[in-house]
């Protein structure tokens, strides 16, 4: 097994090296994301979003031809570190864009930023890099991880929900999620359940929910877990009496599998495909035309990562050698995001609006999340106070 993997790795390295030769003038960007295993659905969205922006700009960012090197982190931190190092040391990329998952971000931050390349995270936004360990060469185009969970907590509190049943997988992000919900929700939490990561059958938990009779449930069950839970929640007949609040559980990456079962369920997000502005309409229409799928937040955040690089390079006239000038140009975030206006905070995380989104079936039979109401305006993450960058 190991031998096979290393042989393949060598083959991959040779392939990349061969394609990299003789392209000195191009702007090199490494895209490191999860492209294998079930979570590949998310990584594919990220890759598609980035490539869409690149295509719209004629294969150039800031006027320079782009050579995009795409690598699969396999959702394994050790693999991700090796590939990140290869990107910055051998391929000498100026930007690394990725990953999807927070544990990968934790692993690759140091190897990438130590080399003076910029790391742009179009999804993962952990609290440590927003606070104490904030990094001058990291830019996050998504959100700080806590925020999406807080949206639901705030909404539950404001809409007068009295009893909530909350559930998440038994790992760090799951605990952070429920803590984020409880930061704003002050009603009664009837039960707080942690399930094993990647549990598929929720029969036992659903029976508990039915017996507890809460006003609402809040769950954080990303990927396949959410697909299973949503279907089973609907099948158990609970959807009529219990409000379904969630984070990263119903979005455009899981809706093709959840379909009608998820209609009317709520999530929290910084964007939705029907967000009403011209940039977003163009992004969604172009994405659907190119990939025949509804984009999720993973796609638009990667799209913004490409726009961010483009805007900064335009300001520096294509120069990537002067890192301070480049960084200052990136801080301005001088481009039109599909999410509407947003700024970078001093910790390089966005200050932006957050919405309650609701799953709906469109006229063409596809499913998407739609804006239900704005929950936070120009919302900053609380960790910025711990960040030394000013």
């Amino acid at each position: 097994m190991m031998k096979l993997v290393s042989t393949l790795a060598i083959a991959a390295v040779l392939g990349v090296a061969a394609s990299a030769a003789g392209a000195q003038e191009k702007l090199k960007i490494g895209l490191l994301t999860t492209l294998s295993g079930p979570p590949a659905a998310l990584g594919n969205q990220q890759r598609n979003g980035f490539q869409l922006a690149l295509k719209q700009m004629g294969g150039k960012l800031g006027g320079r031809e782009v050579e995009l090197i795409i690598q699969d982190d396999e959702l394994k931190p050790d693999v991700a570190v090796i590939k990140a190092k290869a990107l910055v040391e051998r391929d000498k990329v100026d930007f690394v864009v990725g990953p999807i998952f927070s544990n990968i971000l934790q692993a690759i931050l140091k190897p990438v930023t130590d080399s003076s390349a910029f790391l742009i995270s179009p999804n993962a936004g952990t609290s440590n890099f927003a606070g104490k360990e904030c990094n001058a060469n990291l830019f996050v185009t998504s959100y700080q991880n806590d925020q999406n969970h807080e949206v639901l907590g705030k909404y539950a509190q404001d809409s007068g929900i009295k009893k909530a049943f909350i559930m998440a997988p038994n790992y760090q992000a799951g605990k952070d999620s429920l803590a984020g919900f409880k930061r704003y929700f002050k009603g009664e939490v009837v039960d707080e359940v942690y399930v094993p990561l990647n549990q598929l059958d929720y029969a036992a938990e659903l029976s508990k929910i039915a017996a507890a009779k809460p006003d609402a449930i809040f769950v954080f069950l990303p990927g396949g877990m959410g697909v299973n839970f949503v279907k089973q929640f609907r099948q158990a007949g609970l959807a009529d009496s219990i409000k379904f609040l969630s984070a990263f559980t119903v979005d455009e990456s899981t809706l093709p599998a959840q379909q009608d079962a998820a209609v009317g369920f709520f999530g929290g997000a910084n964007w939705a495909p029907n967000l009403d502005n011209a940039a977003n309409k163009k992004f969604v229409a172009d994405y659907e035309k190119e990939y025949n799928a509804v984009p999720a937040s993973y796609a638009f955040q990667a799209y913004d990562a490409a726009q961010l690089i483009d805007s900064a390079l335009k300001a520096t006239k294509g120069d990537t050698a002067n890192k301070d000038a480049l960084r200052a140009a990136m801080m301005k975030a001088d481009f039109v995001s599909p999410r509407g206006g947003f700024k970078f905070n001093t910790n390089h995380y966005p200050i932006q609006d957050f919405y309650l989104v609701k799953v709906a079936k469109r006229a063409d039979g596809k499913f998407q999340t739609e804006i239900a109401q704005k929950v936070f305006s120009d919302y900053k993450d609380p960790h910025v106070a711990d960040c030394a960058m000013k």
Binding site: A41, A204, A210, A211, A236, G237, A257
Partner: protein, 308 residues
């Protein structure tokens, strides 16, 4: 912890147990009769689900998808047997493990290539959708009852087939002493093929029945395979009866453990540590059970005769 909750959780446990039985029945026969460790058995479960999704899209009928899915899974299983597994029967276990692990990697990647990485879904047949009221205020999904019922029917059928037919007799004889059966003039290769094809179909059946509840995605067979191995080790390798009892035992212990571990721990711990320790203990329970069973009965609960 009310009585009604206990009843529902017991049903949930039964449903998991029945599902595990469908998968382990084939695995234990293949392992018992052919002395062949087939790690790729979980892949058959996944393939069954994928094929049913495909045929459902083509025909729009669950029944047609079920029948066509089973037939296609059988054909594919026999193809695998012919192309790969047949050459492994005389090798040692390590080589079988490595080769069948390779089949897992290949097919997991293969379904991703054909059907994509995103999870797919199969709808519940219209007449079985919705829930029934078991008790006032307590709903239970009909489809889960259908799974329990169909699984028990299959178990009954298998019990009859293995206990009262000529093929069943040969299978039992094969599980006890394959060399002797072969010496008595039975075409053991053909017997292997029948057993293998049958096991494949049972796994595919499990995959199709559970597909409306779970998402159909690459690698969905890998986690359930580990549980199936626990089942056949507890039940005794080669024994259908053992697999049945062990599967129900595992299903009940796992489900009841997950539901009530935290509540039980709360009786003598404060809520916060109970919440941390509970899930950890619950996920260990079935392995503890396996350890205890193996300590008391090293060959499992119902070892096939002569295999001690």
């Amino acid at each position: 912890m009310s009585t009604s909750l206990l009843i529902v959780q017991t049903l949930n446990g039964l449903q998991l147990g029945v599902l595990l039985f469908l998968i382990s029945a084939g695995l234990t026969l293949v392992f018992g009769v052919m002395d062949f460790i087939n790690l790729a058995h979980g892949v058959q479960y996944m393939l069954g689900a994928y094929l049913a999704v495909m045929f459902y899209a083509l025909t729009g009928s669950f029944l047609a998808a079920l029948v066509l899915g089973l037939l296609a899974a059988l054909a594919f299983g026999l193809l695998l047997e012919f192309a790969v597994f047949r050459h492994l029967y005389d090798r040692d276990h390590l080589e079988q493990v490595i080769a069948t692990f390779g089949v897992i990697l290949f097919l997991n990647q293969g379904v991703k290539f054909v059907w994509g990485a995103s999870p797919l879904s199969l709808p519940i047949p219209e007449i079985f959708s919705g829930s029934v009221v078991l008790m006032p205020g307590l709903l239970y999904p009909i489809w889960r009852l259908v799974i329990i019922g169909s699984g028990l029917l299959v178990a009954l059928g298998l019990y009859f087939l293995v206990g009262n037919t000529r093929v069943g007799m040969l299978v039992r004889a094969g599980a006890t002493n394959a060399a002797m059966v072969s010496a008595l003039g039975v075409n053991i290769r053909r017997l292997f093929m029948i057993v293998f094809g049958f096991g494949t179909m049972l796994a595919a059946f499990a995959g199709i029945m559970i597909a409306p509840i779970l998402s159909v995605e690459p690698g969905m067979g890998d986690t359930i395979l580990i549980l199936a191995f626990v089942v056949i080790v507890i039940g005794g390798i080669g024994s259908i009866r053992g697999a049945f009892v062990a599967a129900l035992l595992i299903g009940l212990v796992d489900t009841l453990g997950r539901s009530f571990a935290v509540d039980i721990l709360r009786l003598f711990m404060s809520p916060s540590p109970a919440r941390t320790v509970g899930p950890a203990i619950a996920s260990m329970l079935i392995y503890l059970l396996m350890a205890v069973v193996l300590y008391i009965r090293p060959t499992g609960l119902f070892p096939a005769k002569g295999q001690s």
